[in-house]
Amino acid sequence: MDAQLSLTVDGTVHSLTVDTRTTLLDALRERLGVISPKKGCDHGQCGSCTVLLDGRRHLTCLALAVAYDGAEIVTADGLAADGLHPVQQAFLDQDGYQCGYCTPGQVCSAVGMLDELKEGHPSHVTEDLVGEIEPSEVEVRERMSGNLCRCGAYPGILAAVCEAARG
């Protein structure tokens, strides 16, 4: 069974017809040729497919495309539309990657996570649930733990996200 939908991806509006079994990730990668979100597990376990969906970080492999008609998606590629995003520059500065496969997901996750911090969303390790939340190392590690990096670039990623958080 097919369905029609519209997606805005990195500022471009796409109308497309998809098989209703199609995930948002496969709609992006296989139908639209948008390769920035990566497929690492297809089960929501690694974070490589993370994008910003209507402004929040989201795993596209656990989303069926038909459920997101009209959504606005920003990938790591889109974050760099006007030059590298500060988070991306920080990843370069701190060598927060090696093979690069988890990296677009890490970048989107970090951008979304820093917004969550600013908005005061608490995490499992947040002690003060009402005050402002500092982007401490323990907060960043906790909040980035949905994005696996098998190259083990976590220390570099942590340094990059903290650098970006400081502005």
Binding site: K38, A76, L92, T103
Partner: protein, 705 residues
């Protein structure tokens, strides 16, 4: 092609900071990995291939009913052993898929579904009904069934060694440590699953198979596939511009690569995309065998070793043999006049094991370095002093002098930085709230290797620019960047004047990105070509002149034993109520020759330490021997270290250069970071709690009173 003896390169770009040349492509996601190539690369309207895997561990396929699958909208074809293209050569039991009805392990490829979309291919695969004549299988590694003696162990080492009289020395030793150590089955799990894009076409009057493959060695894929497909090597082109990690699992072509080639053979030129799923990787793309190490150390009262024995039991697959060289590091690590090592395998009806980061050294040094910690405790000697006391004058294995064995300096430097002198000698003496706190140390080593089969080309582009090419692959190591640095210094120009091309079999041949040998092997070929180019064409060559050359063998390899060394320090905190282990500090200090790029090298060494930490605390592939497959076959049940698990991890190195080994001075850094790390963590956990754990992963229950 010319063979050129190399001379040392003066370091200018080498050894200094250079940004990764492919960084912006990676942080934006614009870098295209294997199956992400599209129309711009001539990949038009591909079909999607889904694998159908056996559900029995041993037997014969009696029936493949593809009617329901073929009736599913979008399914184009189903290939099985009755209708798949024939291969010319089936000696490689792993790659010779769909050639007969035999099933050698659960998860083996028994059919392929080709479809217009990935959704149809996946559904089509689920609709293929396969019947089996099942036979009894053996899928469990045990002490009583690991008795087969292989002719050699990976890559081509002696199976057993025996010097002196180990039994007599142990019988008369003042102190004996006699224990068994175990390491778990581990899966490499690079973040990019294995994937291949393949199509057949014509070039002139001959067929050509073209592939984008996620591989650590493009030329190796051709060498494996071409003869099986009845093709000349020139008829297969493999490219791998970006590879999302490998850690050994992409070092050799696995069966999905052949599946893509065979599927594409049937589509009349239409490309096929085959992306292995994370779950399928646990059966098809290699893993590290579990190991059982029986270690006996005999020593004088002061800890001076008189005997070392390391008898290994592990497994291989009946489909294809792979014997991990687990006792290999024990042969060269410490001095002792009496020494014996052996490897025995269980030949099981299971998936084919293969390379995983530091095969041999990683599990072997876990056993040996925990045993050394036990010996230090038994003798009442500091673990660092014990290792100093057993430093060999020459390589105990080869009898050659070591070239730069700086283990003791690594231990001392790490001890200074880690605050080792404040460490209480007794275990279970430091508590911080609910946590027992301890520190541990272990040695690391990895052989320095230069692989044969490398060549490079230098072409003058004019205006002081040069194109340098070699079929090497950058799997995330930074090869693109460091080879640019080496080429620049070898040609005495700026790195900005180098256009480097890699990762294509149309370029001069390169060996695999494995064995920590990439930079040494490829870089030396580039130096050979550059030095020959300058000798032939001088400092101001005309545009268009070129030289292709390979490096002559290094005569010093006959004279010296070349190894890298390191010391790993870990702090462990063990919760007294739950047994949870945290590692707040992990430090590696290494002697690896000259570091070509400090930034990428630091990341690689830290990455090795993180993978070692992950092995120490989390990783285990649980095989259900009743059915023969790994049941922890995803990233929710096969745990790898996440952000929250990795605290203060750091690596540093001794300033040195080994230009006797390579003209650029490096010895290789890809694997040593994982070696010894799990032992350091286990030794720290012992120091924290007084409980000795002799297997990894270390689990909470083992540390509870």
């Amino acid at each position: 092609m010319t063979e050129q003896a190399t001379r040392p390169v003066e370091a200018r770009a080498i050894g200094s900071h250079h940004d990764r040349v492919d960084g912006p492509e990676k942080v934006t996601g614009r870098a295209a990995y294997a199956v992400e190539h599209g129309e711009a690369d001539g990949v038009i309207d591909p079909l999607h291939v889904w694998l159908v895997q056996s559900t029995v561990a041993k037997g014969r396929v009696t029936r493949v009913d593809s009617a329901a699958s073929l009736a599913h909208p979008g399914v184009v074809a189903v290939l099985d052993h009755t209708n798949a293209p024939r291969l010319d050569d089936t000696d490689n039991g792993e790659l010779a898929i769909l050639q007969d009805d035999r099933v050698g392990f659960r998860g083996q490829i028994v059919a392929l579904v080709l479809a217009e979309t990935p959704e149809a291919a996946r559904e089509g695969a689920a609709l293929v009904a396969v019947g089996y004549d099942q036979e009894p299988h053996e899928a469990e590694l045990r002490v009583d069934n690991a008795t087969y003696r292989p002719d050699q162990v990976n890559p081509a080492m002696e199976t057993d060694t025996d010097e002196g009289d180990v039994d007599a020395a142990l019988a008369s030793a003042d102190v004996v440590v006699d224990q068994d150590y175990r390491t778990a089955y581990e899966h490499n799990n690079p973040l990019e699953p294995h994937a291949t894009l393949a199509w057949w076409g014509q070039e002139g009057d001959r067929e050509v198979l073209s592939m984008f493959d996620s591989t650590q060695g493009v030329h190796g894929v051709v060498q494996a596939l071409a003869p099986m497909l009845g093709l000349q090597p020139e008829q297969v082109r493999v490219r791998a511009p970006y590879v999302g990690g490998g850690f050994g699992s992409k070092g050799e072509a696995h069966s999905h690569v052949m599946a893509a080639a065979l599927a594409a053979r049937t589509t009349h030129g239409r490309p096929v995309k085959l992306a292995v799923t994370r779950q399928q990787m646990f059966a098809l793309t290699g893993y590290r065998t579990a190991t059982i190490s029986h270690v006996r150390l005999g020593a004088a009262a002061d800890g001076t070793l008189v005997a070392i024995e390391h008898a290994v039991q592990e497994q291989t697959s009946v489909v294809r043999e792979f014997a991990e060289q687990t006792a290999a590091p024990t042969r060269m690590m410490y001095a002792a006049p009496n020494r014996r090592t052996s490897h025995r395998l269980a030949r099981l009806d299971v998936a084919v094991p293969s390379w995983m980061r530091a095969p041999g050294e990683m599990p072997g040094m876990f056993a040996h370095e925990v045993a050394m910690d036990e010996l230090a405790v038994a003798c009442g000697v500091d673990p660092i002093v014990l290792r100093e006391r057993n430093e060999p004058d020459i390589d105990p294995e080869s009898g050659k002098p070591f070239h730069q064995r700086r283990l003791v300096e690594c231990l001392h430097r790490g001890a200074d930085r880690f605050g080792w002198e404040d460490r209480p000698p007794e275990p279970r003496t430091t508590a911080d709230g609910d946590w027992w706190v301890g520190t541990g140390v272990a040695s690391a080593t990895y052989p320095a290797m230069r692989s044969p089969g490398n060549a490079a080309r230098v072409l003058a582009l004019g205006k002081g620019r040069y194109a340098v090419s070699i079929g090497a692959v950058d799997i995330g190591t930074g090869a693109r960047t460091v080879l640019t640095q080496i080429a620049a210094d070898a040609l005495d120009v700026s790195p900005a004047a180098i256009d480097l091309a890699i990762a294509d079999t149309r370029l001069p041949a390169a060996s695999v990105a494995g064995g920590s040998s990439g930079t040494s092997s490829w870089g030396t070929a580039i130096v050979a070509a550059a030095q020959r180019f300058r000798a032939d064409h001088g400092p101001s060559p005309d545009a268009g002149v070129e030289t292709t050359a390979s490096a002559a063998d290094n005569p010093a390899e006959e004279e010296f034993a070349f190894h890298s060394f390191g010391a790993v320090f870990a702090e462990a905190r063990v919760n007294r109520w739950t047994g949870e282990v945290r590692v707040p500090r992990l430090l590696g200090v290494y002697s690896v020759g000259r570091v070509i790029n400090p930034m990428t090298a630091h990341s690689q060494l830290v990455g090795g330490l993180v993978m070692g930490l992950s092995a120490a605390l989390f990783e285990t592939s649980y095989r259900d021997a009743r059915f023969g497959h790994v049941v922890t076959q995803d990233l929710a049940t096969y745990h790898v270290a996440s952000h929250a698990d990795v605290l203060d991890v750091d690596a540093e190195w001794l300033e040195e250069s080994d230009q006797v080994f390579t003209p650029a001075g490096g010895r290789g850094i890809g694997e040593i970071g994982i070696v010894g790390t799990a032992a350091a963590v286990a030794n720290a956990a012992f120091h924290a709690t007084g409980t000795r754990v002799r297997s990894i992963p270390i689990t909470a229950g083992e540390l509870l009173d």
